[in-house]
Symmetry: C2
Subunit: 238 residues, 2 copies
């Protein structure tokens, strides 16, 4: 039998230190650990290289110690590790989190909330980012609630919804009404996830979303752009 | 004798709801209450209309109830009120905060930390934003510490330093080393506070600052741009 500290993880990329560009930790220095594989196929996915099976050959099998050795090499000292994907909840990350905590790192994870894992409770911060209508997916609330239950009182759990249009906005409103106890982030969608993004268009979308939120007096929402897209475009590794 | 609830405040402008563009509350819906008058004259000041005595005629004397009536008219329900300036610490804001709390509002205030007020302790959030060398001012640490003492355990107190160059960055590093117990925000300076800002230049400055911070392994700092400048330029009232 292998313990969870020896289990192999499918890693698409490890990079940083850079800053987190989204949500609760926007602007905070972090190293990203991106896993490969996803149960979703969002229409506007900006990380297809970590989603589609044809990229599987690019995903390195690594054990937790190997991942942490790379995080340590990049960061040099304890840092916030952002676990992302793909859907990182598909990987057995409990051993990585436990060993990383021993080295002083903290862990935040983002997932769509379609798959719950017991080790969510060991995270420092969890972002549930269910996908609105524009993604092409329908949210299964039972799974989302299983994620909340798995996390329990362990991490600080926040919601984040990407908003492209009115339908996504309505979806976010309804979701927030269902789960009022958690900080709620709205993020402007990027319609050009490959090639060059258009900062002027992204800022126009941001202004629209701010106006939508303030017109509805939805003052518990936090409205943010993807800061890394504004700063670095769609470049990988930043 | 007038009580602090009747004391007149010098108000430059009240606007919103919009989102906070800076620091700890970035992206959060808020109404701004900007006071008139300042003990500083920062070289790169972006709100001279709330600083220079020649604008004094534009600053309305208002009592706390009048200010709150306008906040309520704009926001319609309880919201985060951002007290800004000028230097809002020069005004007797204790009565406004007490009466606003009764109506369900919360209050965040930003000041350079040159003048302490006993009512700091009643704030929900306090941003001390001492000015680096590029401002032309020298920080008096005794006054800054008086601000920390006045706030005590009342508000969540964070530091924010605007960074234009290497000298500002060094100043921020030293300040953070002196006050390690508080969240520390670095904000990219805007060299064009009047007229049209240059988003590409601002983002180049942001990338430089991120690189500076990560090269120094300063992982406790949060690095942010002025989001409202990216979204709305130097326009007032947003």
């Amino acid at each position: 039998m292998t313990s969870d500290r020896e289990e192999r993880l499918r890693i698409s990329e490890i990079f940083g230190p850079t800053v987190q560009g989204e949500g609760r930790h926007i602007g905070e220095p972090t190293v990203f650990v991106r896993t490969g594989g996803c149960d979703y196929r969002c229409r506007w996915c900006d990380t297809l290289f970590a989603v589609l099976p044809e990229h599987r050959g690019e995903w390195a099998p690594m054990d937790p110690e190997e991942v942490l050795a790379e995080v340590d090499r990049l960061a040099g000292e304890p840092i916030l590790v952002s676990l992302s994907g793909g859907n990182p909840a598909l990987q057995p990350l409990g051993g990585l989190i436990a060993a990383g905590h021993e080295r002083g790192h903290s862990f935040t994870l983002e997932t769509q909330g379609s798959v719950a894992a017991a080790w969510f409770a060991a995270l420092d911060s969890l972002t549930l980012s269910p996908k609105g209508p524009s993604s092409g997916h329908i949210t299964r609330l039972a799974e989302l609630e299983a994620c909340l239950d798995a996390a329990g009182e362990g991490p600080e759990t926040t919601f984040k919804v990407v908003v492209f249009d009115e339908a996504d906005y309505g979806y976010a409103r309804e979701l927030a009404a269902n789960y009022p106890g958690h900080p709620f982030y709205l993020q402007v969608g990027n319609p050009e996830p490959v090639g060059e993004p258009d900062p002027a268009d992204l800022m126009a979308r941001y202004r629209w979303l701010v106006e939508r939120v303030t017109n509805d007096r939805w003052y518990a929402a936090t409205v943010l752009p993807q800061l890394h897209v504004l700063a670095w475009g769609n470049q990988r590794g930043v």
